[in-house]
């Protein structure tokens, strides 16, 4: 989910019809610059070198989204497929349209580094207290909706660690109970507080490593 404002100008993005390493290349109608989809960066044209800001978003299921955001709106058009279901994230359905075995990840990237967490690991660990650069992060998986998210672990200026217990996301310091999709504390000392959501991107491992060749992958032995 990208912002379309670059240097005070609003861009209109379209599919260029070009692929780079099998990945979508977007074109803006205002300058005809070509943008890498995964990097959000203009690779060619007048805006070469500019980057689109990323809005943190959630790849979740319809039920989870509606129940958490009852006042939400939804974009509607005709369906183009029916293959993208919660089961794909839970490893109960195959990844659509891919002939080869592949693997979902959620990744974080900045100008100097990239790191990714495999869904295969998240489905087992559920809550991973980790670090990306100098940011303490929580990578969390909601098994009910198949939602992976990355949050900061600071609450009111204090560092927290998290665990899953009885299907609940709990912090070790205050024992508050948190919603693993929204990052909002539903009960406990921190009730009503919200963890800051980081722009984790759900992608496929080969594509992630093609565009972030120096990325690291979280491993259970870390």
């Amino acid at each position: 989910m990208y912002a379309r404002r670059v240097d005070g100008r609003t861009l209109t993005l379209a599919v260029s019809g070009l692929l780079w390493e099998s990945s979508l290349v977007m074109i803006d109608q205002e300058t005809q610059s070509l943008w890498s989809h995964l990097l959000g960066e203009a690779m060619q044209g007048p805006l070469q070198g500019k980057k689109l800001d990323v809005f943190p978003s959630s790849m979740t299921d319809w039920r989870a989204w509606r129940s958490r955001y009852p006042d939400s709106t939804v974009m509607l058009m005709s369906k183009t497929t029916n293959e993208y279901r919660r089961g794909v994230h839970l490893n109960e359905l195959p990844l659509p349209t891919l002939p080869l075995p592949d693997a979902l990840i959620i990744g974080l990237a900045n100008d100097s580094a990239a790191k990714c967490w495999r869904f295969d690991d998240l489905r087992v660990e559920l809550a991973i207290n980790d670090r990306f650069g100098d940011v303490e992060v929580l990578v969390v998986f909601d098994s009910e909706s198949g939602t992976a998210s990355v949050f900061g672990r600071q609450v009111d200026g204090g560092m927290h660690t998290f665990r899953f217990e009885d299907n609940k996301l709990i912090d070790d310091q205050s024992q508050s109970v948190w919603d693993p999709v929204t990052g909002v504390a539903d009960s406990g000392v921190h009730e009503g507080r919200q963890l800051s959501k980081l722009p984790g991107i759900v992608s496929l491992k080969p594509a992630w490593f093609t565009f972030h060749p120096d990325s690291t992958t979280w491993a259970p032995s870390n």
């Binding site: 989910m1 990208y2 912002a3 379309r4 404002r5 609003t10 861009l11 209109t12 993005l13 379209a14 599919v15 260029s16 019809g17 070009l18 692929l19 780079w20 390493e21 979508l24 290349v25 977007m26 074109i27 109608q29 070509l34 990097l39 690779m43 060619q44 070198g49 809005f55 978003s57 959630s58 790849m59 979740t60 299921d61 319809w62 039920r63 989204w65 509606r66 955001y69 006042d71 939400s72 709106t73 939804v74 974009m75 509607l76 058009m77 369906k79 183009t80 497929t81 029916n82 993208y84 279901r85 919660r86 794909v88 994230h89 198949g146 759900v202 093609t210 565009f211 060749p213 120096d214």
Partner: protein, 137 residues
């Protein structure tokens, strides 16, 4: 006279047959080399060129390593989508359909992945909480 003529006819028929066989062979060989194999040579050259542009730790993504290949014509900007309240269109999707959800300044919106596949539908220009955004995944 009759037998002489028929011998001559047989002779020229034989020559024609030889010509047809040789001509067909040469034609087939030329076709094989210049048409069938030509595609192989070209695609091999293309694959080799693509391989030389592959991204890797030694050739990381950059303006210099940018090597796009045309797979389809440029697509028109997606228009014609609707924005509805989730509560009023709960049946538009299955409960387990994946959506990409975003919250900006307290305003939430979901983008159903099953409506966002294929070259015609990969990027949506939208505005939420007066913020222009590109919904894509």
């Amino acid at each position: 006279m009759v037998s002489k003529m028929s011998r001559s006819t047989a002779k020229s028929g034989f020559r024609i047959a030889i010509l047809v066989v040789v001509g067909t062979s040469v034609g087939l060989a030329a076709y094989y080399v210049f048409v069938e194999r030509w595609d192989d040579y070209q695609s091999a050259a293309k694959i080799a060129e693509q391989e030389s542009h592959r991204l890797s730790p030694e050739n990381p993504p950059s303006a210099e390593s940018f090597f796009p290949q045309r797979a389809a014509p440029e697509q028109p900007v997606v228009t014609g989508y609707q924005i509805a309240l989730t509560g009023e269109v709960a049946d538009a999707l299955n409960d387990d359909d994946l959506v990409l959800g975003v919250v900006i300044d307290g305003e939430a919106r979901a983008y159903p992945i099953n409506m966002m596949t294929g070259p015609e539908r990969e990027v949506f220009n939208d505005t939420l909480a007066e913020t222009p955004l590109a919904a894509t995944w």
